[in-house]
């Protein structure tokens, strides 16, 4: 190709590219309103009971920032991040943070849960996912999995794996509280 042919080729490609940008603009303007366990989606709703029989429903917590942390007693990173979650809960609960700590009971030993709560002096609600419905709805493939949900019920951040440090929790909580 000589120089003129090359420049003609570049211009044609750039014009076609610009046309593609314009044509695809309207179709990309749609927003995700469905429920899914991913950043930008409405958090899948659930209702679970604690060991003492209290019921917590995610949909009833609109207007508050929520941290949903899914864990199991046998999971070392889950254990390691619990003190940091408790500390952040104490620090931010007055600003509207709710921690829903979901034990994936379907893959845990229920007898280990009470000693676990006592060992780490956990004061936030520990919900029992006995049927695995939440584990499935949140498509949990690794433990721990944490979902930071903003005041509108939209997931602002997903952290898979752990342990989460205090600094990480702090930055993500402050973002969800905005």
């Amino acid at each position: 190709m000589d120089r003129i042919q090359r420049i003609t080729f570049y211009i044609l490609i750039l014009i076609a590219g610009a046309a593609w940008v314009f044509l695809s603009a309207s179709s990309t303007a749609q927003t995700e309103t469905a429920q899914a366990p991913q950043t930008g989606f409405t958090a899948p709703d659930f209702s679970l009971k604690t060991a003492t029989g209290e019921t917590y429903a995610l949909s009833e917590l609109k207007g508050q920032a929520v941290l949903v942390n899914v864990w199991a007693t046998w999971c070392p990173p889950c254990r390691a991040e619990m003190p940091a979650i408790e500390k952040m809960y104490q620090e931010y609960k007055s600003q509207g943070l709710v921690v829903l700590s979901v034990n994936s009971t379907v893959q845990d030993n229920p007898l280990e849960i009470a000693p676990f709560i006592k060992e780490y002096n956990l004061t936030f609600p520990i919900l029992l996912d006995e049927t695995g419905d939440v584990t499935r709805a949140y498509q949990i493939r690794s433990l721990p999995s944490s979902y930071f949900i903003d005041r509108h019920g939209v997931i602002s951040e997903v952290i898979i794996g752990g342990p989460m440090s205090e600094a990480l929790l702090r930055t993500r909580i402050e973002e969800a509280l905005k």
């Binding site: 303007a29 930008g40 990480l168």
Partner: protein
């Protein structure tokens, strides 16, 4: 099959794909680096220092943007959490480190980029696969027969489009005859990569949207494509380079 792949490389294991791609990319780039006038040692050292700066720079940039959080929890600075990371800051740090190393070792700028083009092309394949494993970079809902189920909807498999486009880019680069004009090989890669992103970003559902529904990723890809063409033409028609080649 996709579900099995996503289970196998579920986050945070999806990072393994990026590490494997970086290793494979560097191995392939090494095979041709001397054709581009850069020794294997220089290529390895340049990549090592750039990656090191990328990792450290990404953390430092994140800390600087969230200083109050780290003032209250200073141990977080050395935390192993990969989420305490700022990718744009990391990129800037990596580029600066590569430029400094290149200048000290007198590696010519365009030759270094030509040498790294294969590395970038393989890394792009790893990035596409890691997006597929993590479920990020996901597509808009569609009822096309090749749609994949992701985030409770049938969607464009944008991660697979991205991986296939990156594989094609690598094949075209690997199959092409080396151009003696420094920079041309890298600019071919940049043109192909930005063109494929310009097309694929249209099907994405999770990218930032600008005014009137324009996709930021597409705008950036178009600007990169235009810049690549301008630089490519300037390299191809540079009389000084032509006389060197002849």
């Amino acid at each position: 099959m996709i579900a099995a792949f996503q289970n196998l490389f579920a986050p945070p294991r999806h990072m393994i794909l990026l590490v494997a791609a970086a290793w494979l990319g560097l191995t392939l780039a090494e095979k041709r680096t001397e054709q581009h006038g850069v020794s294997k040692d220089d290529l390895n050292n340049l990549t090592f220092f750039a990656l090191l700066a990328f990792i450290i720079g990404g953390r430092i940039a994140y800390i600087l943007q969230n200083l109050p959080a780290f003032t209250k929890s200073p141990l977080g600075i050395i935390s192993i959490n990969p989420d305490l990371f700022d990718p744009p800051g990391a990129l800037v740090a990596g580029i600066i480190a590569a430029l400094i190393y290149g200048q000290q070792k007198k590696i010519l700028f365009w030759n270094a980029l030509d040498s790294l083009a294969t590395f970038f092309a393989v890394l792009a394949i790893g990035l596409g696969l890691s997006h597929l494993a993590a479920g990020t970079f996901f597509g808009q809902p569609t009822d096309l027969p090749w749609a994949i189920k992701l985030w409770n909807a049938q969607r464009h498999p944008t991660q697979i489009y991205e991986t296939i486009a990156s594989l094609l880019t690598l094949s075209l680069l690997w199959g092409s005859k080396p151009n003696p004009r420094p920079g041309v090989f890298f600019l071919y890669f940049a043109s192909l990569a930005s063109f494929s992103h310009l097309i694929i970003h249209a099907f994405r559902a999770d990218g930032p949207i600008l005014f009137n529904g324009f996709h930021l990723g597409q705008i950036i890809a178009w600007i990169t494509l235009a810049t690549s063409f301008v630089l490519l033409e300037s390299r191809l028609s540079d009389q000084r380079l032509t006389s060197i080649v002849e």
